[in-house]
Symmetry: C2
Subunit: 110 residues, 2 copies
């Protein structure tokens, strides 16, 4: 249980999600990720370190650079599922709002 919670916690930080999304189109260096996300280098490095510990990303060092890439493929499905769930929820809210609007402004509508 602790492990599962830990796993979700790694994904519960916007900056880390940004990094994951940025890595979805291939391997990148820390500098590239710093530029793409707008974070400080130290923080980006720290978040990448956490993702590495969690086994979500892998690292390859070459010359002055560190290249990060996604290694846990389940990330894609996880994000898809959550996005779908959020979409469903918003659609539901929209439907509820619309029908209440309908009642208020054109009360014939059932």
């Amino acid at each position: 249980m602790e492990r599962v919670a830990e796993r979700f916690k790694v994904l519960s930080e916007p900056m880390r999600l940004k990094l994951i999304y940025a890595l979805m189109d291939g391997e990148k260096t820390v500098s590239e990720l710093v530029e793409e996300t707008g974070g400080l280098q130290a923080n980006v490095s720290k978040h990448l370190g956490m993702l590495l510990d969690a086994g979500v990303v892998g690292r390859r060092k070459q010359g002055l650079n560190a290249y990060y890439r996604i290694v846990d493929e389940s990330i894609y499905e996880l994000c898809d599922l959550v996005c779908g769930s959020i979409r469903d929820r918003l659609e539901e809210e929209l439907r509820a709002f619309s029908s209440s609007q309908g009642r208020a402004t054109a009360k014939g509508q059932q």
Copy 2:
């Protein structure tokens, strides 16, 4: 992005996961969940409130009791995915450990 992070954060707490798992075999009251998880009533109620806000569970009040149930079906898949990912990771570690043991104790093995 914030929304996705928020979604994962809801699932990043062991007590909330316990509650979700407890609800997987059907609707239960707060008292039942308190007993099953061993938490304080106030805390269980608070966590259930968060899950309710997040749209993960639903609530039905009847008499003195509040009955909670899972309403976001994607939870099942999410948990399966994470568990699978954790299992993969552990198997990988085990393999790496075993082969290093092999090298150390019976170094003929390549």
